[in-house]
Structures are given as C-alpha cells and as structure tokens.
C-alpha cells in the first residue's frame, strides 16, 4: 500500500544547515537520522519552574515517548528543541555536536520536524496553501511552485495512506482532517527527526493505525521519533523507550516492553489511579425515556438518526471522524438547525433553535474544542463557571449577584476538585484536565436533564481523566442522562450502551459490557448491520 519512503537519500535536501551548526565529523550529505540529546535543560516562566535539569536522548530509528501529566513539561521541552523557546540552561547535541537552536527556522534547517498539539494551520487557507507555507515551495523571485507543492503533497498523502483534502479551506474541515494536514505539513520537507505532540488526540482506531504505519516507515529509514500522547496503550504500542516527566523533572526512562498501562500510570501520577471501570449491563432498566430522537437529519453529515436516551443513562456514541457524531450533538442543542426529524424531551417536543433554547430546556453540550468553544481563556475560573447560568437566564435585566456567583463557583471547584489557586485565577493557567472540568462544571451548574459531551478527555492526563469519568458517573447516578462522544473507544466502557454512528446514521447499538474497542472499531468500518437490544 505504501510504496514510497520519503527519506530516500537521492532526494536532495532542501536548505542545508549553516556551517557553524554542522556536526564537524560529517562530510558530504548527512546520513539519515540524527541522534538527539538534550542535557540538563531548565526553563522558568515568570518565576515558575517548568523544566528542571531535564535530559533525554533519542537514537536514530527509535521512538521515544514522553509521558507525563498536563503541565509536567513535555510540550515546553519540545518547544525548546523546536527553537520556539530558549532554555535558561542546558545544551542540545545532534550526533554528539552541540548546536544552538535559536529559532524554529534553525530547527527546520537541522532537519528537526515538529507536528504540534496546537494546530498551526491558517484557517482561511486551503490545504494546499497551508502545505505551501513551508520552505522549498518557492521558485526564484518568491513565486509559489504550486505544481511542485501539489506533487509533494500527493507523495506525503500516499505515505500517510490518506487522501489529503487540499482544495477546501481548512476551517471547513473536521479536526482529524486538519490533523492529517498538520502532519503532512511537518513531513513536506525531509526530516532527520520528527516530534509528534498528541498526534492521535482526535483520531479513531483506524486513523491511528495509519499513523503507526507512517511511524514504522520513518523509523525504518533511520529517523528518530519523539512521541507525546496521553493515550497510554498507544504509547506502549508505538514507543521503544519512554521517558516520564513529573513536575518538570524526568523521573525515569524505561523500555516500553518493561511497562504496562498500570505501571506507566503509576509512574506518571506518582500514585495509584483507578482505571476505567466497565459499567456494563448495569443500566438503569425500568427508568423512563428522557430523550427520544426520531429521523433527525441535516444532510450531508447527518442523514437519519434514531435513538432513545434513558433517565440516568450514560449513552456512548462511537464513530469515525466524519461519521456525523459531532454534528448530531450540535443538532441536539440547536447549535445548528436540523432540516427534519423530531426530538422529544420528557414527553414534550423539544424545538431548540439555539443553544439558549436547549439550555433553557435542560439540554447542554460540552463542546469538542474546549479552548475555542468552551472557555474564555483570559477570564477567571469563576466567570467561566457562571457563563451557562447567565446564558440560560431568560431575563437580561435580572440582577447578577457576584457574591452568590462566587459561592456557587467555590462549591463547584470543591465538588469537581478543580485545581486552581483561587476562583479568580485566569482559566488559561489551569491544566487541560482542570480546564475541562471547568467546562463541564459550567454546564452542570444549570442542572441539565441531558448532558452531551463531545470528546471530554482529549488532551487530558490520566489522573484528571479518571476524575472526569467519576464526574460523569456521579451525574448519571442522580438521574442526569449523559450522551458521550469519544474517539477513544476504551473509555466508552463507562457507558451503559454505545451507539455506533456511520455515514450520519446509527448503525448499531451495543451493550456496555460488550462494547470492546475491537468490536466498536469493526462496527465503525464494516457494513454488516447489527442491532442488539
């Protein structure tokens, strides 16, 4: 299927390292794959120590995973290697020679390629325009070599085993499609080392498989990979060695074969964390139907959706990117308008023309992208926690009482163990997991009957993830109905039932106790319809 290895030595390297950074022992073209060492790296931000004497080493052709809770320093370490930040102390060695990486451009010239957690694509540009932004896409006089870029993009796409969407503005693409483009952009120029920061955060199993194949190709050609992911099973599968960071320090480097999820979790958190508890068939039988959805549609993404959601039930939605799973959630809360179909809530027809209507009726959506859709990043935890309450208020002239708002905020912070200095702290200072708890808390405060969660644990570390599962379990226990969309099919084990969505329709319903990752994955791909009561 993949016939072409990108790192064919006959391909001329675009841009060569400036002479002073070239390892002195190398004559002629560089061999593919560099060993990368970072030694004694320390970094402070405004008096807060982010990295403290961190050392890592990557051999050519090796996959080194960096694991750690949010805030442990993984991304900062990568940003230093990428030249986006400067370390306060420490040094970086490529093939044994010390180099100074003072800008992302230098890093790129050295053959270090980075695919970041934050999508750094220009939303208004098409895929092709985004891919053309790197070096080597210009002919003399700065004229864009469109044909060359398209050709290269096709090669990269073939290598990824994915047809890249190049002619549509990136902002119109689903998240996973954007990720593929980000990844492709990092591979447009031949690389000696590739760092992948949360590459599969919004991928499903099949899409992740493709990435693993690409990683295999790269390492086979001698390229080293630095890999950051919160999905520990995936890390254990992909990585050769794992360096574990905790509070800005490396607490250990282990061979991946010597670890399992449990021991790795223990290393990351520094304490035992409960793993996912399968809820299984312990579903609230006899409970009444809370939400009944019939023939819900908004072509082309959502064609025909039927399902019932019971009181106190946790109902999962499994689907590939592009299956319509996010769009279904948006229709339910009136973020988009359905073209047909009906939704009945507690026996009454629900016509949500806007999220305001939906929240007023007790249906809330915890959106997919917490930073852009869930939070006001510069505002305080307290203001963020009150937002849905404000939004649900029918009367704009009604009085807002800051004292009451603060007390409620404090109780939510306590109830959900949101770790922040004070309710006044800006929410962007919190870790990803705690930010997510704020978004969930904001909606829980309105005491919803139905809470829809779209990818609630993306970019959330193991410890906080367990807490989010507990939040969801507690809500269901008091009668809240939960609809949970996830690409991480393992975590759908917390559901009573799981709906499998494909091509904008529900194609199967699986009981929680049999909703294994392999089964859900198979159902997402294959077309043999299977319905289990």
């Amino acid at each position: 299927m993949v016939s072409q290895v990108q790192f064919d030595p006959s391909v001329p390297r675009t841009g060569s390292p400036s002479p002073d950074v070239l390892p002195s022992t190398v004559d002629g073209p560089l061999p593919l794959g560099l060993s990368v060492r970072m030694e004694g790296i320390s970094k402070h931000f405004g008096g807060v120590r982010s990295l403290d004497d961190v050392s890592i080493a990557l051999q050519p052709g090796e996959v080194l995973a960096l694991c750690g809770a949010n805030g442990a320093g993984k991304s900062t370490l990568l940003r230093i290697l990428a030249g986006a930040e400067q370390a306060d102390s420490g040094r970086i060695l490529l093939d044994g020679s010390e180099v100074r990486i003072d800008s992302p451009r230098t890093a790129s010239e050295l053959g270090l390629s980075f695919v970041h957690q934050e999508l750094n694509l220009v939303p208004k540009f098409t895929g092709l325009q985004n891919l053309a932004m790197g070096k080597g896409s210009q002919r003399p006089l700065g004229i864009l070599d469109r044909r060359g870029v398209a050709k290269r993009a096709a090669e990269v796409g073939e290598m990824l085993g994915h047809r890249l969407v190049l002619d549509v503005a990136v902002e119109q693409l689903p998240v996973a499609e954007r990720w593929m483009l980000s990844l492709a952009r990092g591979l447009m120029n031949p690389a000696q080392m590739v760092a992948l920061d949360e590459p599969t955060a919004s991928f499903t199993e099949g899409e992740a498989e493709r990435l693993y194949r690409v990683i295999g190709q790269l390492t086979g050609a001698g390229v080293g990979i630095i890999y950051i992911s919160h999905r520990l099973d995936e890390v254990l599968e992909v990585a050769d060695r794992i360096s574990i960071l905790r509070n800005g320090r490396v607490v250990g480097t282990h061979d991946a074969s010597s670890l399992d999820v449990r021991s790795l979790t223990h290393h990351i958190v520094g304490r035992e964390v409960e793993t996912i508890e399968r809820r299984g068939a312990a579903q609230p039988r006899g409970a009444s139907v809370r939400l009944s959805v019939r023939g819900l549609a908004r072509p082309p993404r959502v064609r025909h959706v039927d399902f019932d959601l019971y009181e106190g039930e946790i109902l999962g939605i499994a689907g590939l990117v592009g299956s319509g799973r996010t769009e279904i959630a948006r229709l339910l809360v009136g973020a988009d308008a359905a073209t047909s179909g009906e939704v009945v809530l507690d026996g009454e027809p629900l016509r949500a023309r806007s999220p305001h209507d939906a929240i007023g009726n007790g249906v809330c959506l915890v959106p997919e992208e917490r930073r852009t859709q869930g939070l006001i990043l510069l505002e305080s935890v307290e203001s963020n926690l009150q937002m849905a309450q404000i939004g649900a208020s029918p009367n704009l002239a009604s009085v807002h009482r800051p004292g009451r708002s603060r007390r409620t905020a404090r109780s939510l912070i306590e109830r959900f163990a949101i770790r922040c200095r004070s309710p006044k702290s800006a929410v962007h200072q919190l870790s990803g997991g705690n930010q997510q708890k704020v978004v969930i808390g904001k909606y829980v405060r309105t005491e919803p009957k139905v809470l829809v969660l779209d990818e609630p644990t993306v970019g959330v570390d193991v410890g906080a993830r367990a807490e989010i599962y507990r939040m969801i379990g507690d809500l269901a226990a008091v009668g809240t109905s939960v609809l949970m969309i996830s690409s991480d099919f393992d975590e759908l084990a917390i559901c009573h039932r799981v709906l499998v969505v494909r091509d904008g329709a529900v194609v199967a319903t699986v009981d929680g106790d049999s909703a294994t990752k392999s089964r859900l994955t198979r159902l997402c791909y294959t077309h043999d319809n299977e319905a289990i009561a």
Partner: protein, 330 residues
C-alpha cells in the same frame, strides 16, 4: 500545555510581580503623577476646588460618549459612527426646538431616540448581514452625515430662545454644574449594568469568546445589538449636551468626540485590567485627558500641545500596560 502552568509551591519572582503591578497600575500612576506634578508647578491654580470641578465639567461630554463606546467594545465590536451620531443628535434636538415642534425635554428624548435607531441599524448590519463592524459603522456614519446635512442644510442651527437649553449646561446644584451629575450618574448606571446584571455579564462573555458564549446559551446577536443601541443613544445624548452649551448645533460639532472616546476607552483598558474594557477604566481615561488639557491651559502653552498629549497618553498608557504584561508573563 503551551500555557504557563502554575505550581503552587513556587511563587512568581519579584520582577514578574513588579511588572504585573506596572501593567495594572501604570495607567493610574500616570494620572496620579500628572496631578502631583501640576500641584507642584501651579500650586495657586491647579489644586483648587474650582479647578477640580472645572476638570470634571470638561470631562462630562467625553465621558458620556466614551461610556457608550465602552459597551460596544466590551461585546468585542467597534463603532466608528459615534462622532457623526453625536453631531446629528445636537442638530435634531435644536431643529425640533427652533421649529417649535416640541418642548425641550421631548426634543432631547427624540434626539436620543434617533441615536437608538442608528445603533439599531449598526447592530443589525453587523450581526444579521455579517458586515465587519469597522466597515458597517463607517458606512452608517457616512449616511448619518448625509442625513445631518439634509436636515440642517449644512448651516448651524441656533435657538431663538436659548434659556431652556442653556440652563442644562450652566445650571448648578451645590455649586456643581449639572453635566457633572449626568456623567457620574451615567457612569454608576453603566457600571451596574455591566457588573450587576445578566445583560452586562452576557456582554462580557460575548466579548471574551463569542462561540463559547453562544454554546453557553447566550444570545450573541441580541447582546451585540443592545451594545450598539446603548452606544448610539449615549452618542446622541452627547451631541445634545454639546448643543446645550451654546444653544446651537453645527453639522460637524460632535465629530471630534470619536477619537476622544476611543482614546479614553483604550487608555482605560490598561487600567487595573489586562486589556479589557471597563467603565472605571474609561472614566480614568477621560479624566486623565481632561487633567492634561487643563494643565496645558494653566501652563499657558500653545493649545496644539493638546493633540500631542492625547496621542502620547494613549500610546504610553496602552503600550506600557502591554509591555509590562508581556514581561510579567515570561
């Protein structure tokens, strides 16, 4: 992960803290030092009750229009039509009185209603048509200029019987001119509206992140339109108050308030907050400029220095705040 993660065990360094202090209080310190310097330079005339009242009186009109603008800015929008709206407000009020159509209070009310209408048009063009606020309000403002010329024929409208209008500006209570009370009253109401009502909180949420606000149930379109309406109403009121000073209105009398309002609001965004617009900050901005103008007059330097001062205040106030916040963050 790209954000700075705070670790409770470590406290920010002294330098980070002092930069943060400069960011928050720099603009306020500028006002305070201006007052101190002037008190030393002109101890006879500057630090007196009369001059204090005079400064507040000079602040009143810019304050009214800048408070209105603050509402639009809080919702994350922009209004470039306020100067033209102010001009039209004065012309409408004076024309109605000259033509003996209505009484003075009703004329003022109708002029403000015209401002409401302009704000409504601005808001609908921006939200429903989806035109960028910069372009939309520039366009609407230009139309307003046309309407203004059509009403007044390009000539100043002067009242035959100025008493009713003049007493609004010249009248005093407890030896303090009425406009000062109007300014303080509006500032208090605006502060309450923004900080103590669901509307105000919604406005701040919309300005912070419109998409998150929408998914939180806030009716973003409605909130933005209301912001434009308040802004238009207060702009028209500013024009009316300007007309009460001379009992006449010129077709471009209010135009210069556009820049004054923006300067005050942006200067104010650097006061105590990290670049967010708020009523208290806007008031500090207005008063800082008024103190500066007062100082220029008392020192007897040429009036063109006013422009230098206003420009420098804006750049230094906002610039120092921005740099200091950046330093505090790294």
């Amino acid at each position: 992960m790209t954000t700075t993660i705070l670790q409770p065990a470590l406290t920010p360094t002294v330098s980070a803290r002092s930069w943060q202090g400069l960011g928050r209080y720099g603009a306020l310190m500028m006002l305070v030092s201006l007052v101190i310097v002037m008190s030393v330079l002109e101890p006879e005339t500057f630090p007196t009750w009369d001059n204090f009242v005079n400064i507040l009186n000079q602040s009143a009109l810019p304050a009214v229009i800048a408070i209105g603008l603050t509402f639009t800015l809080v919702t994350g929008e922009f209004d470039l039509s306020i100067g033209n709206t102010a001009s039209l407000g004065g012309v409408v009020a004076c024309t109605l009185i000259v033509d003996d159509v209505v009484s003075v209070p009703l004329a003022i009310l109708l002029a403000v209603a015209v401002g409401v209408l302009i704000g409504l048009i601005n808001g609908l063009v921006v939200t429903v048509l989806g035109v960028n606020a910069l372009v939309a309000t520039l366009g609407v403002g230009t139309v307003v200029v046309g309407v203004n010329y059509a009403i007044a024929g390009g000539l100043p409208v002067t009242l035959d019987d100025p008493e009713g209008m003049l007493k609004i500006s010249l009248g005093r209570f407890l030896d303090i001119p009425y406009p000062v009370f109007i300014m303080i009253g509006l500032a208090v109401v605006a502060w309450l509206l923004l900080n103590r009502t669901v509307l105000g909180q919604s406005m701040q949420a919309v300005g912070g992140n419109a998409e998150a606000a929408r998914l939180s149930g806030i009716r973003v379109t409605r909130i933005r339109v209301i912001g434009f309406v308040i802004c238009g109403a207060l702009a028209a009121l500013t024009g009316v108050l300007l007309a009460t000073r001379t009992a006449s209105a010129a077709v471009s009398a209010g135009d210069s308030y556009l820049l004054a309002a923006f300067a005050a609001a942006f200067f104010g965004s650097a006061v105590l907050r990290d670049g967010q617009f708020h009523v208290f900050g806007t008031m500090v901005g207005v008063i800082t400029v008024a103190v500066g103008f007062n100082a220029i007059a008392l020192l007897g330097v040429e009036t063109y220095w006013q422009y230098f001062f206003q420009g420098v205040v804006l750049i230094v106030g906002v610039g120092v705040g921005t740099v200091a916040r950046r330093r505090a963050a790294t």
